[in-house]
Symmetry: C2
Subunit: 265 residues, 2 copies
């Protein structure tokens, strides 16, 4: 690890002058931010995989030639962003969608009373799964070029026998080469866990656009509701480590027995 770190004292003055001359913002980050970026790189490259133990704070401090406190602050931020998980007495682990207390980390749906766990696992039915060339809008959302290969998956989730979610999922063809309907259908457990273990793609964060729409004929049929029934439209873009979009998901949620829960602060 011969990575060179810049201490604030070494470079602050000269850099401020340089960047002023070129008209750039002072692009200097504190040491712990630089450490954070280095750790992030190791996560991206897969040096430490989801669920694995990363080196201890002291080891990292030695490797990066900084104090333990500086490493600690870097890891603190990574933990706040749910990229790693600290466990006192054991160490720091790469976050994973597996073995989480909440089964679906990005699914904000709740039954009108109780919680999702009390409803048992969702019954999943895959309607369709095919490879195709990305239409312009899908391509844009996935940071691809129109016509690039993508994988499309359509499925229905039912809770306690009631079809509740109809969703279309688009994945970039490259990273998910080899994903088939059979592979998906035979997999027990959350989709994002399969993505991690089989394709090395970890979803880190997501953005959702939510609207109310009327059920069209096809959706109504699959969800067992009347045409025109109000449905919650949830369009999710999920990102992996470097803000790289890796999944587009368009869901239609029945919100008679469930609601979408959000916490603001």
């Amino acid at each position: 690890m011969a990575t060179t770190l810049f201490s604030l004292t070494d470079t602050a003055a000269s850099d401020h002058e340089a960047s002023a001359a070129v008209g750039l913002a002072p692009a200097f980050s504190p040491l712990y931010q630089q450490i954070k970026v280095l750790i992030l790189k190791s996560l991206q490259t897969g040096e430490w995989k989801p669920g694995e133990l990363i080196p201890s704070e002291m080891e990292l401090a030695v490797r990066f030639r900084v104090s333990q406190g500086t490493v600690r602050k870097a890891i603190d931020e990574l933990a706040a962003e749910n990229l790693v998980m600290r466990r006192q007495g054991k160490g720091t682990f790469v976050a994973t969608h597996a073995e989480q207390q909440v089964q679906y980390r990005f699914l904000r749906l709740m039954p009108n009373s109780g919680d999702l766990r009390s409803e048992g696992p969702a019954e999943r039915q895959i309607i369709d799964c095919k490879r195709l060339r990305a239409p312009a809008d899908i391509a844009r959302s996935l940071a691809l070029r129109a016509g690039d290969a993508v994988l499309q998956l359509r499925r229905v989730l039912a809770f306690q026998g009631a079809p509740t979610i109809l969703e279309d999922v688009w994945l970039p063809g490259g990273p998910f080469k080899g994903l088939t309907a059979e592979r998906l259908a035979s997999y027990r457990g959350p989709m994002y866990v399969l993505f991690e273990t089989e394709f090395g793609v970890r979803m880190v964060r997501a953005e959702e656009k939510i609207r109310a729409v009327a059920a069209d004929a096809a959706s109504a049929e699959l969800l067992g509701v009347r045409v025109g029934e109000p449905l919650l439209s949830v369009e999710r873009t999920a990102y992996t480590y470097n803000d790289l979009p890796m999944e587009l998901r368009r869901g239609l949620y029945c919100t008679d027995k469930h609601y979408y829960k959000n916490e603001l602060s």
Copy 2:
């Protein structure tokens, strides 16, 4: 400030034994958590009001007889929860809904392209404002007893001339004694700012339950849509400092030109 703090070393051993004897969980928090609670108390009692400067880290360290680093960690958490705001070189300020970069902190609505600011301020029209006895469901949400006095407000928000949000707001009668339709109508600026300045009530966090519903006759009329049109139903409970519910808000959002934006991580 004669508040007594318990250091971990002083009390950890004996307390563990004591609590084990009584069958309680070890209720000991680290020093910085105790400091955080003390600062929180000063925020609740209004010793420092929204927008005001709180004592410097050094002053608080002296007051609480701990090191600056411990105070710092307490304030770090308060800042992460948006209860205070740090500004380098100036100090730490009590968070306020006023003078925030984003006008509506709890409003997640975005135009299909651009952002809310680019649409200019919302036009607000108050439909109704009255005092009444709380129905059972409203009372429960506001932690009141059925029949307690509440204030109900109904209004429409329009963006660029298009009615977009119809919302009913319920407020507990006690804390908001003296709030009238005129007072609301004449007030320029966000409602939550008025709550802070006139009633000393600061909304700290909120929970929302989101569903898709069909417009009924009254809502359709007020929003200028057809009856049966899908609308986003957003039920928000807003809380002040000690997780005390202080507002219930039921909104119907038109989501043809806007969407509800959510970020997951």
